[in-house]
Symmetry: C2
Subunit: 431 residues, 2 copies
């Protein structure tokens, strides 16, 4: 058993002082504010953060995709270039470094939205899940909890006479049809795997239910309406929006996360909310890719719970993601106070982990997994900013994370230099 005395800690939505936590078998067995025993941990401790939408290999693009003008679609071409060069060994090394970066920023669970399944040209590896297994092993090595969201990707988009076949690097993504995808995914460990529909562009309408069935009882994630073009093509092909297409296929529900959910009709928002689907926003990616600003407030009012992801890893900093949800609303409405700091912290913690199927993570409470992230309150950013939820969300940033515990185990002690060196080596190897 470990006993820690947290100088300040976020408990039940407010910051308390001198919080004793006892950890047994990776879980919190005691949480008591106003205590005076235990090994003192200075700073402000918050629950582990959940990064609900990650494509680990996109990290290799940071700093390299900004040179040109252009759109989401030109960015995608560059991303495909990196995808083309990875194999299970190099991907394991790269993903380990990226997951280490996440841990160093206070992320304790990651939803890895994974679609790079097969060899160049599309032939499966000897182990058809070699790439997925590389990601699971990378998470183990970095000490992060993972939900591998294995994505079904069968088509390259809506064509005039039906769905377009995958081509080029997309051949690595495709299992041919949803049945074959489901057979492969059945070989992955259930407790660490969920399912994903890449998007309505990538899975023909009639095959959507197969994916939904295969994922029953587990998290189902899907890119939804990130781009206006996707909406237009779906409407042209089927006469309904992507959200309604998913709803009719039974893909919405309390285990589903709609990722981005940027360009929605009021009807879409209602469908997502009433089905209690999560809405996973990735604000730093959405601004980098010029996607637009999704209706986070309307989705929450309709019944969806907000979660957050760093997606393309242009930035890995969930503090910035939390802030950005509110800041983007402010920019376009010219009003403050759409999301409270406490609500944004819930999105980044309890609701985020829940959307990954981890219901016992994300709160500092008895019975929860012991995921503890401690922030320095005397950094140039946080000094003088107080010890409230507001100081966490609106003053802190990823470099203020000094100590990270996952399942009771210390996985980061502040050595950011080691994380940087691992990233530099791994990215060099695939560049």
């Amino acid at each position: 058993m470990t006993s820690l005395l947290l100088e300040h800690a976020l408990v039940d939505g407010v910051v308390s002082d001198d919080v004793l936590v006892e950890i047994e078998d990776g879980r919190l067995s005691v949480v008591r504010p106003g205590a005076d025993s235990g090994t003192r941990v200075p700073g402000l401790t918050v629950p582990g953060l959940a990064n609900c939408h990650s494509h680990a290999f996109h990290r290799a693009l940071r700093g390299h995709t900004q040179a040109e003008r252009g759109s989401f679609w030109t960015w995608r071409d560059q991303m495909y270039g990196v995808a083309d060069r990875l194999d299970p060994d190099s991907y394991k090394v790269l993903a380990t470094a990226v997951f280490k970066e996440m841990v160093a920023t206070g992320i304790t669970s990651v939803g890895e939205f994974h679609y790079l399944h097969h060899q160049p040209g599309g032939r499966p590896y000897d182990d058809p899940n070699a790439m997925g297994h590389a990601l699971l092993a990378a998470a183990d090595e970095a000490g992060i909890r993972i939900r591998l969201l294995d994505a079904c990707y069968l088509s390259a988009g809506f064509g005039d006479g039906g769905m377009l076949p995958p081509e080029g690097v997309q051949l690595r993504y495709s299992d041919g049809d949803a049945e074959a995808w489901a057979e492969r995914v059945a070989e992955l460990p259930v407790d660490r795997t969920g399912v994903a529909l890449h998007s309505v562009r990538a899975v023909p309408r009639e095959q959507l239910p197969t994916v939904v069935s295969a994922g029953a009882g587990r998290p189902l994630h899907v890119h939804l309406s990130e781009q206006v073009l996707e909406n237009e093509a779906c409407l042209a092909a089927h006469g309904i929006t992507p959200t309604r297409l998913l709803a009719e296929a039974g893909a919405l529900g309390p285990m589903t996360s709609a990722v981005h959910a940027t360009h929605l009709t009021d009807g879409d928002t209602g469908l997502l909310g009433r089905s209690r689907s999560f809405a996973c926003f990735c604000p730093t990616t959405e601004r980098d890719l010029a996607d637009g600003i999704g209706p986070s407030v309307a989705l929450a009012r309709a019944g969806s719970r907000l979660t957050l992801g760093s997606d393309s890893h242009a930035v890995i900093d969930l503090f910035e993601e939390m802030r950005a949800v509110e800041m983007h609303e402010r920019l376009v409405t010219m009003q403050r106070g759409h999301w409270s700091a406490a609500e944004l912290l819930t999105a980044a913690t309890a609701d985020g982990h829940a959307s990954l199927g981890f219901d016992d993570v994300g709160r500092i409470a008895v019975g929860q997994r012991a995921d503890l992230v401690t922030l320095d309150l005397e950094s140039p950013r946080t000094a003088g900013a107080g010890t409230s939820c507001e100081s966490v969300v609106f003053a802190a940033a990823s470099p203020d994370v000094r100590r990270v515990v996952v399942d009771g185990r210390l996985v980061y002690d502040g050595d950011a230099g080691a994380v940087g060196r691992a990233l530099a080596e791994a990215i060099e190897a695939v560049s």
Copy 2:
């Protein structure tokens, strides 16, 4: 003479390797890429950054102003509370810590927009410039170059029958009339001081020319059209926009910086551009205060040069300010590539310093002041992101600054902890 061999350095808008710089009397006397002598400085060195719009004391509000819903105007009430508590001694300590935070983030020149002149109630201090002198002394202690922009603030806004008199803490801001303001400002050192019109709300129309004359040949800064309400009140009072009001008073020109310039008509943009006025954007403040997104691209096309400021210090990170100009445009246009990384770096360096009246700062070139900011290229943020302008603007963040030289003198060596402790003490003292 000092000889440094910069591993990578931004010279003439591109990153070169192995750049020898020699420093004599605080200036660069040699700049030679591809060299092999000198004391090696690892990392990527960029010119010193210019923070063109600062209200140092706002730093005390970070983390404390987010708890309520509300608008710019409710935020302003909280800001006035801190203003009410400061005196020359406590302000010197606070500003020293804030300027140290700036230095630690790579800022080598600051434009301190200063309006907290007098004692509570409005009586001048024995030294009528005691507060201004406190700011100059704070800059010296922190090792930052300062342009003290002494602001004329005479009225509380547009009223039905003329301008409203200052009240409450605003009494500390007012010199009574522009003549008295000018007499006071004449006692400040010309080489470190510029002038400011707080806004068209705060200086009656007929007194604007007095401020303009007093500042002739020196930088003149003015808050312009940050809020829609200001525009409406100005139109109601005078039948013209704030920009046109300034133009008619002779306040626009190549030594003028229009701060914010958010809500402009096409006519306003043309007036600012044709007069070659600078447009100083403060994106992290503008999003925090829900101001809206100004027309940076249109202003640049019209002839204005962009500069940047951290203003309210919700964040002090000019890398984030650079990025945010582009990101905000992306969010509302759904296109990438409005501002190149090189253009944003020019805004944050050469053009920024120029807007503060420092024409010989902001480039790594022979004859320039030796302001050198070195970034760690193996941090969790920068690792693998390359050595281009894009990696500086789109991957780096303030914690990546490891070494800062101003006028050839090392003023920051990476000890962020000392900066944080100074801030914590100084803010505690005024809270």
